[in-house]
């Protein structure tokens, strides 16, 4: 019961703030609403007992990336940005993409409904005490089963980082 209440609360906050984020004109307000949406998503992770994902979401997205976002936003002259007409011509494209996405999700649900027993995997709720330790399990699967993809992603990020440094150095 409590789980359901928490889920609908966080999901509602996430969706609501995401909608508000797109419709605000003020960039800083949008950023604050994006932070709210990210925090609500973290809340859903926590409600699913994925503690490690919860804190990683907060440390990386909220504590790291959003601080940089806001830092950059503050360097931009907001008054100029406010007067420009924004995202006016993308309305129909956006609608099309949204419809396509909704159709895709709907199709998935519809097709899974027709396959009894093989549809969307539904896990029965386990008692919190019986769950394996969260961060340890994440570490095991990252450095065990998924070591190669993990290393590839790391190398990709390293290349991006070195590239950024090289590009920044060239200017001076």
């Amino acid at each position: 019961m409590l789980d359901k209440i928490l889920f609908y609360f966080f999901a509602g906050v996430a969706v609501g703030s995401a909608v508000l984020m797109v419709t605000r004109r003020n960039v800083v307000h949008s950023a604050i609403l994006l932070i709210t949406a990210l925090l609500a998503t973290a809340g859903i992770f926590l409600q699913l007992r994925a503690e490690f994902l919860f804190i990683v979401q907060i440390i990386l997205y909220v504590g790291g990336i959003m601080v940089l976002f806001i830092f950059v936003i503050m360097l931009v002259n907001l008054d100029v940005a406010l007067q420009q007409i924004q995202f006016a011509r993308q309305k129909w494209v956006a609608l099309l993409v949204a419809l396509a996405l909704a159709g895709q999700v709907g199709l998935m649900f519809w097709s899974s409904r027709k396959m009894p027993g093989q549809g969307l995997p539904v896990l029965t709720a386990a008692a919190a005490e019986h769950l394996p330790a969260n961060s340890e399990e994440v570490a095991k699967s990252l450095f065990g089963s998924y070591l190669l993809p993990f290393e590839i992603a790391s190398v990709l990020l390293l290349v991006a980082m070195i590239g950024a440094v090289v590009m920044a150095k060239k200017r001076t």
């Binding site: 800083v28 604050i32 503690e51 440390i59 504590g63």
Partner: protein, 464 residues
């Protein structure tokens, strides 16, 4: 009939479980939120007193004996001050920012364990990450508050603050990683237990990590010598310039709560949490008597000072303080004295002892760490912004990354030779020295680069 009683019992158990799971932490949380402003106020008083002592003056002396009631007077003054919101400020964000700051700081306290029994969020798996991650969110309060004030000084303060936090969080995180390598767990209680098992505090096994965390935590809490975001000689009061009264005091509360949080994290990870110094050395167990004796000495000193007080009210107040210390000393003395008088109760008072003395040692270590903060504040002059950035990026981050690598290598070598406890020093000390040498080498190389004539100082405008 019996079935009904059974369901009643079940219902009772369920209620008990519900109370234990939800209401006890809630009540503890409310208590912490209620008491913390008072504690923060007294930390301010202690800070002013220490500052006065270091500058050979008396400090606040007017309200109460030796200014002991000054925090309460300050709080009342702040509460009844006029609340000003600038005309061109972004009202909503201006309102939100201090609340964010103080909310994040208070929330992160929930993950800390003050003694083996006192923890609001019991035994969370992510433990220390929770504390660090949530307290890092307080930066939004500073940045958004600075932006919403619609003032140049505030904006500069906010920009500096975010740049500073992003730079130093990496170093702090890496320092945490090298300490966590030694424990292999994130759980706050298990970290302290691991130090108990090894019989050595991690500050000795990872001194470089402790040093890095110390510097980075000063920078993260925006304290002198790294208080660039509120540098009064350049930016009036930085991000707090436009805030007054209660909102300003919220920022203040957040700053001091953050100090407590970083001090507690350092205490848990490096200084053995609630453990007594040398908890595993039997012939040093007389240290158990240190807490009650220490507090009794404070009580005695207060009684000695009574005749020197100028007025009768102040004499009574001094006696009251002495009485309070006396009662605290008695409470601390009970669990160590009882087993000597009556050895059969040793088992019964053990949890009681662990709780009370654990709390004492934890608070004692946190106080020492905060004292270190104050000492540094009154000793070192403020850094310039480019110096601050250079220290962070050219020295601390390389140092902490190298240290993580070397601590890992040292632990593998230690495991190979089956080293434990104090024996681990044989491998971790060379690792620490090597890390320092490497970091200084990198610094020297960087300095050589910077000294080239074509590279003048960068013109970042937030340097001020």
């Amino acid at each position: 009939m019996s079935l009904e009683i059974g369901t009643d019992m079940n219902a009772l158990q369920a209620t008990n479980e519900f109370l234990r799971l939800y209401w006890a932490p809630l009540l503890c949380g409310v208590a912490v939120v209620a008491i913390l402003p008072l504690i923060a106020g007294y930390i301010v008083l202690v800070e002013r007193k220490i500052m006065a002592d270091m500058q050979a003056r008396l400090g606040p002396m007017r309200v109460g004996p030796h200014g002991l009631l000054q925090p309460i007077a300050d709080a009342v003054k702040l509460l009844i001050k006029e609340d000003i919101i600038p005309d061109n400020a972004d009202k909503l964000v201006f309102w939100l920012a201090p609340v964010l700051s103080v909310g994040a700081a208070l929330l992160s306290l929930a993950g800390l364990a003050i003694g083996p029994a006192f923890q609001i969020a019991q035994d969370i798996n992510i433990g220390i990450l929770f504390v660090v991650g949530i307290s890092a969110m307080g930066i939004f309060g500073i940045v958004l508050g600075g932006w919403a004030s619609n003032s140049h000084y505030s904006l500069m303060g906010a920009l500096r603050s975010s740049a500073q936090l992003v730079s130093y969080e990496t170093a702090a995180g890496m320092a945490l990683v090298s300490a966590l390598l030694l424990t292999g767990t994130l759980n706050v209680k298990s970290i302290v237990e691991a130090q108990n098992k090894e019989g050595i505090w991690f500050v000795l096994l990872a001194p470089v990590a402790f040093f890095t965390y110390l510097v980075a935590s000063i920078a993260e809490t925006n304290r002198a010598p790294f208080d660039l975001p509120e540098a009064e000689s350049e930016l009036v009061a930085g991000y707090m310039t436009e805030f007054s009264g209660f909102r300003w005091s919220l920022y203040f509360l957040a700053e001091y709560t953050n100090m407590i949080v970083v001090a507690s994290v350092a205490t848990t990870l490096f200084l053995g949490g609630w453990l007594r110094p040398f908890a595993r050395v039997p012939w040093l167990s007389f240290l158990d008597f240190a807490p009650p004796v220490l507090i009794m000495a404070i009580a005695a000193y207060c009684v000695l000072r009574v005749p020197k007080q100028p007025t009768r009210v102040q004499q009574l107040f001094m006696l009251a303080v002495a009485g309070l210390c006396f009662v605290t000393a008695l409470v601390l003395a009970v669990p160590v004295v009882l087993p000597i008088i009556k050895p059969s109760v040793r088992e019964a008072v053990a949890p009681f002892y662990a709780g009370i003395h654990g709390g004492f040692w934890f608070i004692f270590k946190v106080s020492v760490y905060i004292y270190l903060f104050m000492w540094l504040r009154f000793t070192l002059p403020r850094y310039r912004f480019d110096q601050l950035m250079r220290l962070g990026w050219h020295f601390l981050i390389p140092l902490s990354i190298i240290n993580v690598l070397l601590v890992g290598v040292a632990l593998i070598v230690g495991a190979y030779f089956h080293l434990q406890g104090w024996g681990l020093l044989l491998v971790t000390t060379p690792a620490a020295i090597l890390a320092l040498v490497a970091a200084f080498f990198i610094l020297a190389v960087e300095k050589g680069h910077d000294a080239r004539p074509d590279q003048t100082a960068t013109s970042d405008f937030y340097v001020g």
